[in-house]
Symmetry: D3
Subunit: 80 residues, 6 copies
C-alpha cells in the first residue's frame, strides 16, 4: 500500500516519460506517507486503452485529440 | 486522460493528506504531460480496502501493520 | 463479458437511480452486442469514492461540487 | 464523475461498435444524472483481455465461445 | 506482480473467510509462478459493492440473492 | 460475484499457465464460497502491463527483473 494505477491511451507517451511518471508519482506519494513505505509503494502504468476508446461526454477521443489539447490547439476542457 | 487511481486502506490517511495526494500527484503528472492537460487529468482516491484485507505474500495487513512499517518499527519489505 | 463498472462518489445517487443505471446501461450494451449475451453482461456500481476524493485538475471535488454542476449553477467543464 | 469502464475481450467488437458503446452508455447515464454532467462523464473501453483469458466458472472463454453464445448456438448462462 | 483483486458484495463474507481467500488465492498463484515471487504477490479484497449494486443481465442482485444461489435455493446461472 | 482480476506483466506467463491460474484461483474461491456459486465466479486475466511499467518503490520492473526474482537470482522483496 498504496497502489497507484495510471491509465493512459496507447502510444501517446514514450518509455522515458512513463519511467518519469513512475519516479515522480512515487516521490509525490512518499512525500506524504513517509519514505519507509517506499518498498510497498506500487505505481503501475496501464496504457492499453486504444486511440478512440477514451470517451468524454459521449465522444471517443484519439491520440491526436489529446495531442491537440496538449499543444494548446484545441480549447481545453476546463473545470469551472 | 490520464486517469490515476490511488488505492489505500480505509482510515490510514487524513482528509488533508488525501487532498495533498491529489494535488502533488496531479502536479507530478502535469510536469511530464504538460499543463494544458490539467482539466482532463483525473486523480481518484479509493480508500475502501478494509484493514486486514491488503494481502502481501498471503498475509492480510492491517492499518497497524502499515503504521509500524511507516514508523520504522518493522523491517520494511525491500526490492533487491 | 462484457464487464461494466460505474464509479461514483458516495451518497450522490439514490438506490432507485442506481437500479436505473444498471438497467439502462445493460440495455445500451445489449443493443450493440445482442440480447443473447444478457446473462453474461455484468454492470457493477462502485460508489465508494468519498466526497472530496474525486480530483479533477488537482482539486478534490465534493458531492456539493457535482450537485452544483448538475444544477447548472457552476460553469461545467467542457471538452472543446 | 461518473467514470464508466467497459471491459471486453480483445478483437470481438469493431471500432464502430465501440464508438456506439461510448455514445449509448453515455446517453444512458445522462438520462439519470442530467445533461449538465456530460463534460465530466467519462466512458473508457478496455478491450485488452486476450481470447481465452475471460474465466467463468473456472473455464477460460475465447472470442469464439462468446460469438457462439451471441449467435444462440450455445446454451447461454442464465441468472435464475 | 502479480496483483490480484477480489471484488465482493459488502457484508457477505466474514473476516475469517476473507483471510482464507487471501491465503488460498496466494497459494494458488504461487503454485504456478513459484514460491520466490511470494513477497511481490499482492491479493487485495474490495468488498465495497453495496447489496443491490451487482447487476447481472440488468438486474441488481442483493446479498440475499447470492445467499439463495449459494444455498441452492435458486437456479444458479450456468455457462453452457 | 465474486469478480477476481489478475493483473500481470505482458509476456511473462504462457497460455497454459494462465489457464491454470483461472482454474486454481476459481477452485480456491469456491472452496470458501461454496460450489453453487461457480457459474457466477469470474476470474479475468489482464496481462497488458508492458515490461518496465510495473513500478515498485519508484523503479519500473521488467519481465527480466521478475524472472530473476523467480529464479532466485535477485534478493527478493520481503515483508518483515
Amino acid at each position: 500500500m498504496p497502489l497507484v494505477t495510471i491509465k493512459l491511451i496507447e502510444g501517446i507517451f514514450s518509455d522515458q516519460q512513463k519511467q518519469q511518471m513512475i519516479e515522480r508519482v512515487t516521490d509525490a506519494m512518499l512525500s506524504i506517507e513517509g519514505e519507509n513505505l517506499r518498498p510497498v509503494t506500487w505505481v503501475l502504468i496501464d496504457d492499453s486503452v486504444r486511440s478512440g476508446d477514451w470517451g468524454i461526454g459521449g465522444h471517443g477521443l484519439t491520440v491526436e485529440d489529446f495531442q491537440a489539447v496538449a499543444a494548446g490547439k484545441t480549447t481545453a476542457p476546463a473545470i469551472g
